[in-house]
Symmetry: C3
Subunit: 309 residues, 3 copies
């Protein structure tokens, strides 16, 4: 199991750091509330901060929120803006499927909950591996690149980096072409049932790996999808054979077959047959076995954390 290598380390360190409150440390963190910036990149640039952790950000309208900044990967300055967490792989667009729909599989609601392109927010940074998360940065920050971490469910924030099964980022500034963030990108490419056919997918952007590689990415998905995608990309707004829309194929680019429901996440409000959900059909024929069409247990039980820079 992926955890064997690191769980013991984490266990050993847990007690020391947390049992007695270090007030100096706590006051230092607390002083970050004086920073005024719209992104982690601005925090890094204005205040010369290089430590990973929680910071305060402010939207253009002045709304204040806390989120996690990755200040180390490839120069740092990455803002956590969202996480996609599968709370119940058997649920079919039930409560908790905020990145597809919480209304059941529903032909009358082709956009589902619409959270990929609205200003609704939910969850907290510390809870980002325990439930869905979306903060105002998702729509407010003007960014150039994205980073993605796949972190096993329920891992604590201070161990995300170490625990992640995959980490990678883009570096070609593709978001400049699509309005500077996913909120704008998904206005160009709506995550909506029946918006087009399999060939109408959005951009596929090459990635640089920070943990893992193309081969490990491939192995986290099922035997059969492995023949239908190419690892090394983030792909946006995929569409499957049945005209269902998905938001992100994280780590891969569909190249054949159009059965994207087995390896892409998020979605509109309708899938035929009933595969509706945040991780739509990751459990198709052999849940967590990585056989047939189904994704591995590691992938199915990891939250997908989305960063901007």
């Amino acid at each position: 199991m992926f955890c064997l290598h690191i769980c013991y380390f984490i266990f050993l360190n847990y007690g020391k750091k947390k049992l007695i409150t270090n007030f100096e440390h706590l006051e230092r963190l607390s002083n970050r509330s004086r920073y005024v910036a719209r992104s982690c990149k601005e925090i890094r640039d204005r205040y010369n901060e290089q430590e990973d952790g929680l910071y305060y950000l402010t939207t253009a309208n002045g709304m204040v929120y806390q989120t996690f900044c990755d200040m180390t990967t490839a120069g740092g300055g990455w803002t956590l803006v969202a996480s996609v967490h599968e709370n119940s792989i058997n649920g079919r667009c039930t409560v908790g499927d905020r990145w597809s729909s919480q209304q059941g599989n529903n032909l009358n609601l082709p956009d589902g909950d619409g959270n990929w392109s609205n200003r609704n927010t939910f969850g907290t940074a510390e809870g980002a591996t325990s439930d869905d998360f979306k903060n105002p940065g998702y729509y407010d920050i003007k960014a150039e690149d994205m980073s993605v971490w796949h972190v096993p469910n329920n891992f604590p924030l201070d161990h995300w980096n170490l625990a992640a099964i995959l980490r990678y980022h883009t570096n070609n500034r593709f978001l400049r072409l699509y309005g500077g963030n996913l909120f704008q990108l998904f206005k160009h490419y709506p995550v909506r049932y029946n918006i087009g056919s399999c060939s109408n997918r959005g951009p596929a952007v090459p990635i640089v790996y920070d943990h893992g590689d193309r081969e490990t990415t491939r192995m986290f998905y099922g035997l059969k999808p492995r023949k239908e995608f190419e690892p090394g990309f983030i792909t946006f707004r995929a569409i499957n054979n049945e005209r269902a829309a998905m938001a992100i194929c994280s780590g891969v680019k569909p190249i054949a077959g159009c059965n994207t429901e087995h390896y892409c996440i998020g979605g509109g409000g309708y899938f035929y047959p009933d595969q509706c959900g945040d991780f739509p059909s990751f459990d198709y024929d052999s849940l967590g076995m990585g056989q047939g069409w189904s994704a591995s247990k590691e992938m199915t039980e990891a939250a997908v954390l989305l960063f901007y820079r």
Copy 2:
């Protein structure tokens, strides 16, 4: 379409204001965290603020939150305390119907979720046109009058005023008679199935228009309801022929027929037949056509923003 007149303007201005962070502006907004006040009216009076936007407020118990203040309409000082947003007009008291019930149409839950008269809160000011919103001001502020904005779904906060299809307010200090806010008013007039008959509705308060008029109000509803209400009022706790309770008939006063489910919003947890929802039966026979009993597309797809002063 209502948007034609203003969308181009909004598009033109979007880039200039938001692409590069104006730190001076951001720090000015950020300094508002020093204000201590329980309402936008107090912000205006104590700090002489006249700019629309987000401010910090504090409840009597000391809970701090951010919300939008309208500092311009009729002297300003209006606090946004809630929005009623229909996330799925086909859903019948499903997830997201917080102003009626998320438990399905249910005779055993006559009060539904009970949010009109409890201290539960949800959503954010910036997300108030993307999802339901209710902040502590709803139950904490002692006010005299109300203002209502009908804003097309997903419009950004800085364009609400311009984009609203209707804006109006009361000016007779009616809330003094009902405990100073809707939380108290709805204790006097519970939004509960079978609490009384059509004749037991709550107060109907005359309004002054800030955008739109009695005739435009009338046209946003269906052909048949137009014969059953009189525009120019906010009416509270309407009851229909089938003894279902609704919270607010915004812009109108029922005068005949008792088919209020086609033009009043919010509700208890049971409607017969199954018309349960935040906008109960706005889609009765011709969704979005403004024909028959159904409301117009403009009204069905606009969030109802509630302000106190």
Copy 3:
């Protein structure tokens, strides 16, 4: 009715305190934002605060939140970290059943929503008697003892103490043995269907009463459960005859019969027969009558507030 004694008092005092904003008081509350501490106990010890009310706390990672501190009971320093609120006693693991499951009674989801042992948070302190509440303190604070208040639904924060039908706390520092909080305790004793049989319950910890006693505790439950438990304890992770898991038997210890679904709260995602919910089968045969197996109306309509120290 329990309220007779105190409601008039509350009514009398309501107007005086709240109608006109006391800015001095508000600024004093507002100054608490300068405190840096991880628990109410630290607030009491570092800043010598002895007043009940809302304070700011900071997690080890620096996340800031507001919650209620009980600074008076048995020396004070108690942090409110959660409330279990039954929004619909007829709902069977429907929306709002966050302490069991919002996915319906579901054999495929034995842990239900999993909130007893993850970092998801929801609700607000002021809304803790109107809806479920869980803040970062639940998983962040390292505590020794617990306190529990049973407060009638929808009572305001400043009257919880007075309005509670039961208040009690542990004083044997049992949490030291289980990782310092419920988050850790429930990792040792998962709240999961089919994790064991009735005999595999977790610890039963003796309590000291602050309001009420063993006899009043007994009378708040049904005639038949009274023969199956002993009052004077908090019991964790009870399991019933049908192998359903419950999180807390608050005020009592199961000693016979294993029908814990009638007096223990919270749970995994599956109960046989369908008794799934935050207050699983408190309404079994005579809702709110305290007859047969059903709990009293007082207990069914009171939120269970959980404190750490």
